[in-house]
């Protein structure tokens, strides 16, 4: 599988994503933000975490309009896979590839901690290695991860089963305490209509190593490489 990681000025989890992808068997290249094309044969585009362009405007707002994003939108329109993590999720929302916005965390502070996520469905290219209803451990590290969308949009996301992950406790219960950034319906990640674009705030790429928090994040990257191996 060929993965392309888009590097914006200020991206800072690009190396983490590359490591997780390589571990799952992907070949990884990086694409500078001013490029107009993706590398030939790209299967998966990753928008990594970080503070693109310093995030001095709204998070992801400038990156959503970067030159490379036209190519990313075209890739998605053609059914190609796109994964946006943290700042990448914010960029996907700002670029029109996913609905909704990420607001300041409910406590108005940056928070970094281990977090459990409920895997809502396991029939997508991103999650087919997980069990239905599984609570996976990941980590979060963000100041603006509070997912919000208007009522119609949220109804549609729920009706179309496009919520990918929800914040939960270690036993998989969706509780207010487990939803520390205050996201609507405890939403941690969502899919596009065709399920080929996933945006999520938490970092599965930092949970790929038994020494560093555990390996629950591997499932996502192995799902992706496995899906593409099957398709090829």
């Amino acid at each position: 599988m060929k993965a392309a990681i888009v590097v914006f000025p200020g991206s800072n989890r690009d190396r983490d994503a590359a490591r997780a992808l390589r571990l799952a068997g992907a070949s990884v290249s990086s694409v500078w933000h001013s490029e107009h094309e993706l590398p030939h044969g790209t299967d998966l585009v990753v928008l990594p975490g970080g503070f693109s362009y310093g995030d001095y405007l709204r998070c992801g707002a400038i990156a959503g309009r970067a030159a490379v994003m036209d190519a990313v939108r075209a890739h998605a329109a053609g059914g190609g896979l796109v994964l946006g993590i943290c700042n990448g999720f914010q960029i996907l929302c700002e670029s029109g590839l996913l609905p909704g916005v990420l607001m300041r965390n409910a406590n108005l502070r940056f928070i970094c901690h281990w977090q459990h996520l409920l895997v809502e469905r396991t029939d997508t290219a991103f999650t087919n290695r997980y069990q239905s209803g599984q609570a996976i451990q990941v980590c979060v590290a963000h100041g603006e991860g509070n997912y919000f969308a208007d009522a119609d949009t949220v109804r549609r996301l729920e009706a179309e089963n496009r919520v990918a992950f929800r914040y939960c406790d270690p036993d998989g219960n969706i509780t207010a305490d487990a939803n520390r950034n205050g996201s609507l319906n405890s939403i941690a990640g969502i899919y596009s209509e065709k399920l080929n674009v996933l945006g999520l705030m938490p970092h599965p790429e930092n949970l790929v190593d038994p020494l560093v928090g555990g390996i629950d994040g591997r499932g996502m990257f192995e799902s992706l490489t496995g899906s593409l191996a099957k398709a090829a």
Partner: protein, 737 residues
């Protein structure tokens, strides 16, 4: 002869922080009246912050070498060999005064400055730590300062993309008007690709890189070397504003440029900006430097030479490039959207010449400005000592369990989760031991090697006995690294003291340095970098002497490490080291009995080493994976922390030595560790310890969900945890009184 439009009056000299005799020395040096720009330059170079004039002769006594030391003090950061062709580059630095005046930006730029020191040497930062000291929680400004400093450290480090993995937070009324913000950065480089500040070669281009120069932070270094008074808050314009995004770009651009082979020398622009960086590069390389300020990228119109030379605008670098490689270097910097300008050249004159609008505005001897700045042997008083407090003389609490709960929920010993959750401590995916342990562990790349990192100092010990306090700070750093399984290699020291012009404060500095030197020598733990912050006092009242020690150790195999959490029920709990029930200067005496007094616990450096080597061996041989050092709050607090971290209780049936039980539980005797091991392995461990003369005793067993102290009712781990976790969030959420 260069013109001077501004007459240099004694008032002007005083405003620049130069003493009359220093100014006389300067006049004799240049043989004429200086220009205003020259006065600004010399005031920046000869102030305490840049010249270490009060501390230098004492710092020279510290041990700075070992076979694994690649670069000791004097460069942007220290460098040690960690094997496999890799080097660890690290340093700690204070940003105390700016953080008191403007906590968010002061702390943020402190982090930015120390990160720059590390990547200036060619290292990619892989971890950040900090040590924070605030005033009394009851002081009206404390809440605001905690909130701002923590947000500032997080705001900079998180965006830059370095995990903030450890540190310390303490409160004491002696920091009421003068908080301490000490930031440490740790980077990784190839041993054969370290970059230094010393310029080389005559006629080589001097290049300005990074952000533009503005009017921010002018005279920041002078402010950092002045005492505070009530009007200090008016100095806000001298605080710089940080831009972590620009710094991230600067990091990537610098590392890319270094790979290209174009860099001869590099120096970041920190305190005293362009002045200090240019002078240091020239002085260290025994070369002159000529600058043309018309070429400096500026953010504002009409900046004077004086302003440009003293601006402390952040995220800037100075480099000496190989001639002919300017275009290649410029392309890299343009790609990252950063400024790049050739602003001068190296010369063979040993003069520091600055031109602006076609005129020479400064022409000074570079060596005397830089490494030959004035040095003082300031008068210092011998330290006074406090009496040893016998354990029998200290009242027992009504209940040890109740006292323990109070300590676990006290400002100094409570959980600092509220703080470190605001720091991204997991980015880069190598944080094996997160904040809350004895030392942080970050794996080096894909392992198995790792680094153990910690910051330590116990200011109340240093106040009571500077030499012993200095020894203890080093010993505790060494012990914390050992407790996670690391082999301690070297330290960076950040010496925060009051005015060196007061002999008793100077005596504290001298005493602490002596203690640090003794401990570093005894433990083979040399000082490779550091920073001195003096004049930490407000309205004539000094801070507690606070020589913060940042320790670095290596783990050859990160998989063989220990954490403090109890992991299994039924483990035997062993106490390593001798317990005499030392309550003088203990947290128990201060927070439970309301007495801040007595001699601090002595550090037996031979026993320290013996005990530590023994514990490390147990970890490496797989016999112990649960280890915690005994420090503030003694054995009792150590047991509580191990129980809370693991969610498993413990039973301690009796006090195994003939001491009052509260002295056994809360005494702060040094050189001790608590370990939990398989009970079947315990006899061999005891035997082995006995053969080496190391006191080890079985004191209890892990199990259930509560902690049972001798002769008392059990206290549930959940209740302890509630007290431990609640204090800081509740304090920060409360309205100021």
């Amino acid at each position: 002869m260069i013109r001077n439009d501004v007459p240099i009056t004694p008032e002007l000299v005083k405003e620049h922080g130069l003493k009359a005799d220093e100014y006389e020395r300067f006049l004799a040096l240049i043989g004429r009246e200086p220009t205003l720009t020259e006065l600004g330059i010399v005031s920046a170079m000869w102030n305490e912050h840049c010249s270490y004039k009060s501390s230098r002769i004492h710092l020279r006594t510290l041990p700075t070498s070992a076979p694994w030391v690649i670069q000791g003090p004097g460069e942007n950061a220290g460098v040690i060999d960690i094997g496999d062709g890799l080097a660890c580059v690290f340093k700690m630095e204070s940003h105390n005064h700016p953080s008191f005046i403007e906590p968010y930006q002061g702390a943020a730029t402190g982090v930015g400055g120390i990160l720059r020191d590390v990547f200036t040497m060619g290292a990619r930062p892989i971890a950040a730590l900090n040590s924070l000291r605030f005033g009394s929680p009851a002081h009206p400004k404390t809440r605001h300062l905690v909130a701002g400093v923590v947000a500032g450290i997080g705001g900079y480090g998180n965006s830059f993309g370095v995990p903030t993995v450890g540190g310390a937070v303490g409160f004491h009324e002696r920091y009421d008007g003068n908080i301490l913000v000490n930031a440490m950065a740790v980077g990784l480089a190839r041993k054969d690709a370290i970059f230094y500040a010393a310029a080389a070669g005559v006629g080589n281009p001097i290049v300005y890189l990074g952000s533009k120069t503005g009017r921010d932070g002018i005279h920041g270094a002078t402010m950092a070397s002045a005492e505070f008074d009530d009007a200090s808050a008016e100095k806000r314009p001298t605080v710089q504003v940080g831009d972590p995004f620009a710094e991230k770009l600067l990091l990537e651009a610098c590392l890319e440029l270094m790979k290209s082979g174009a860099v001869i020398a590099i120096q970041d622009m920190g305190a005293a900006g362009l002045t200090c960086s240019a002078v240091e590069m020239g002085a260290k390389g025994n070369l002159g430097v000529e600058l043309d300020l018309d070429k400096v990228p500026t953010r504002e119109e009409g900046m004077t030479a004086y302003e440009m030379m003293l601006s402390e605008s952040q995220e800037r670098m100075l480099m000496v490039l190989k001639p002919g490689m300017e275009a290649e270097a410029q392309d890299i910097f343009r790609k990252w959207g950063l400024d790049f300008a050739v602003i001068g050249k190296t010369t063979d004159t040993l003069r520091f010449v600055v031109k602006h609008r076609g005129e020479v505005v400064a022409d000074l001897p570079i060596k005397e400005l830089g490494d030959e700045a004035p040095v003082y042997d300031r008068p210092h008083l011998a330290n006074t000592f406090q009496p040893v407090i016998p354990p029998e003389s200290v009242a027992a609490p009504v209940s040890n369990a109740e006292a323990l709960k109070r300590l676990a929920g006290s400002p100094d010993l409570c959980s600092k989760r509220w703080v470190w959750e605001q720091y991204d401590h997991l980015i880069l995916g190598n944080t094996v031991q997160t904040p809350g342990g004895d030392a942080a562990i970050v794996r080096v790349e894909d392992g198995p090697k790792g680094l153990a990192l910690t910051t330590d100092v116990t200011p109340r010990y240093c106040e009571a006995d500077p030499v012993e306090g200095g020894r203890q700070a080093v010993a505790e750093a060494w012990r914390n690294i050992t407790a996670v399984g690391g082999k301690p290699l070297a330290v960076t020291d950040n010496l925060n003291f009051a005015s060196p012009e007061r002999p008793e404060a100077m005596g504290q500095l001298v005493g602490c340095i002596r203690g640090i030197g003794e401990a570093c020598r005894a433990l083979d733990f040399p000082v490779v970098s550091g920073n001195v912050s003096l004049y930490n006092e407000t309205n004539g009242r000094g801070i507690l002497p606070t020589p913060t020690i940042g320790g670095v150790g290596v783990l050859d195999d990160t998989r063989r490490h220990a954490t403090l959490a109890f992991k299994r029920e039924g483990d035997a709990i062993l106490l390593v080291g001798e317990t005499r029930g030392w309550l003088g200067q203990s947290v128990y005496l201060r927070d439970i009995c309301g007495r801040e007094e007595g001699a601090p616990p002595p550090v037996d450096l031979e026993a320290e080493r013996r005990n530590g080597d023994f514990v490390r061996h147990l970890i490496h041989s797989g016999l112990a994976d649960t280890v915690h050092d005994c420090s503030d709050g003694g054995l009792g607090v150590a047991l509580a922390e191990m129980a809370m971290a693991g969610g498993i209780g413990a039973v301690m049936p009796e006090c195994p030595v003939a001491l009052p039980c509260h002295a056994f539980l809360f005494g702060e005797d040094q050189g001790r560790y608590v370990i939990a091991v398989d009970p079947d392995a315990a006899p061999d461990i005891l035997y082995s310890a006995a053969s080496k003369g190391i006191p080890v005793a079985i004191i209890g067993m892990t199990g259930a969900d509560s902690l049972t102290l001798p002769g008392e009712e059990a206290i549930s781990v959940a209740e302890l945890r509630q007290a431990h976790e609640a204090w800081l969030p509740e304090y920060m959420a409360a309205e100021p009184a």
